[in-house]
Amino acid sequence: MNGYQFYWSIVWDSLPLLLAGAWVTIQITVLAFVIGTLIAMPMAVARQRGEGWAYRFSTGWVELSRNTPAVFQLYIFYFGLGALHINIPSYAAVLLSVSFNNAGYMTEIFRGGLTAIPRQQMPAARSLGMTGPQSFIHVIFPQMFKVIFPAYVTQGIWGMLNTSLGMLVGLQELSGATQYAQSASFRTFEFFLATALIYYLIAKALQFSSQLVFRLIYRS
């Protein structure tokens, strides 16, 4: 960066634009985290079962989501569906593709956690008259989340970073907004440095708030 002059004031002027983008990023991150979690819980159970159509479905999902680029997954939801005359807004396409990716990774994280739980916990719960789903919700999953929590939060942050692909389908999330602002001003370094800082701050906020939730739930 020999001789490059930084003009930070222009970033300052565009801050409302960047923050509006950051808000979209946060929305999609949180929603995709929740959607991914809700899909991954039954899929992890199905994966652990090791047979049946649900197992094959979950395995297919895990294989696709973890072994293809996230950008390819986004293109399938945006351009692929578009080619089938199913046109969805770029916001929905990013949300769906990040949720899809999250669910795949989280399934495997959860499955690892499930194997760490003593086999006898399930019959112990069922013997009290709890149904299978009740046993998972009250006995198995709380223990599982405790084991996998760090990896789970890391995936949530990874999902947030994946939302930056939104700029490729014209979504004004944080990266999209940055792309727009820098192309209008040609202050590339200023904008991308500022944006990196905002991503970092969001990631840290997610990490700290999740640790807080963890302590509240598990009293540790």
Binding site: S127, M130, V139
Partner: protein, 247 residues
Amino acid sequence: MIEIRNVRKTFGALTVLKGINLDVNKGELLCLIGASGSGKSTLLQCINGLEPIQGGEIVVDGVSVHDPKTNINTLRQKLGIVFQQYNAFPHLTALENVALAPRVVAKRSRKEARALALKHLEHVGLGSKADSLPSQMSGGQQQRLAIARALAMEPSYMLFDEVTSALDPELVGEVLETMRLLKREGMTMVVVTHDISFARESADRVAFLHQGEVCEIGTAGEVIDNPHKEQTQKFLRREKRQPLEVA
């Protein structure tokens, strides 16, 4: 009453139960004894439907356990079971362990469930441990917690699956004492045990299982002190050579 009719149970090629016939009468304590692999624990797991059966029928108060039309979750509320490995829920306090099923299954209010849980914890002598996590409790305390947890569903029958086998010898006494307390209160109990002296002193009837069949059944005096079958005599001689610690 529990009626066990010609029950067959196989794991693949292995036949574990070869046509068991047994009745458990209201208010009695029936001990199941026998060598490892004789099928006594498996039989217990079949009674509350944790294990499917391949033949015969188990009927609890007129309801067939393995009938697909039976609501097994409702039926299980009648059948408390306590396992060898305690299986306390490690993420919950003692009180929450006991209150969970009354709240989730019996749909009691949070407050009611807590009061009920405290009552049952006090019953087994764990009133002061209500807010402890299982990891902060001894094996004997965890096993009594498991008993309280089963009792909180107010079952008609209690099934005990070698509940003292995993305990340090000095902790066995407190669990047996809790079981004697339940017997005095008239609970119907089926107890799988290796503890011959507990069976002799507490059981109304003793059934000796051998290779998946009821080999001999009768009062403790008949089966333990005066066994007629050769297999029973052999088994008891072996058990006496390696006496188990009993408090």
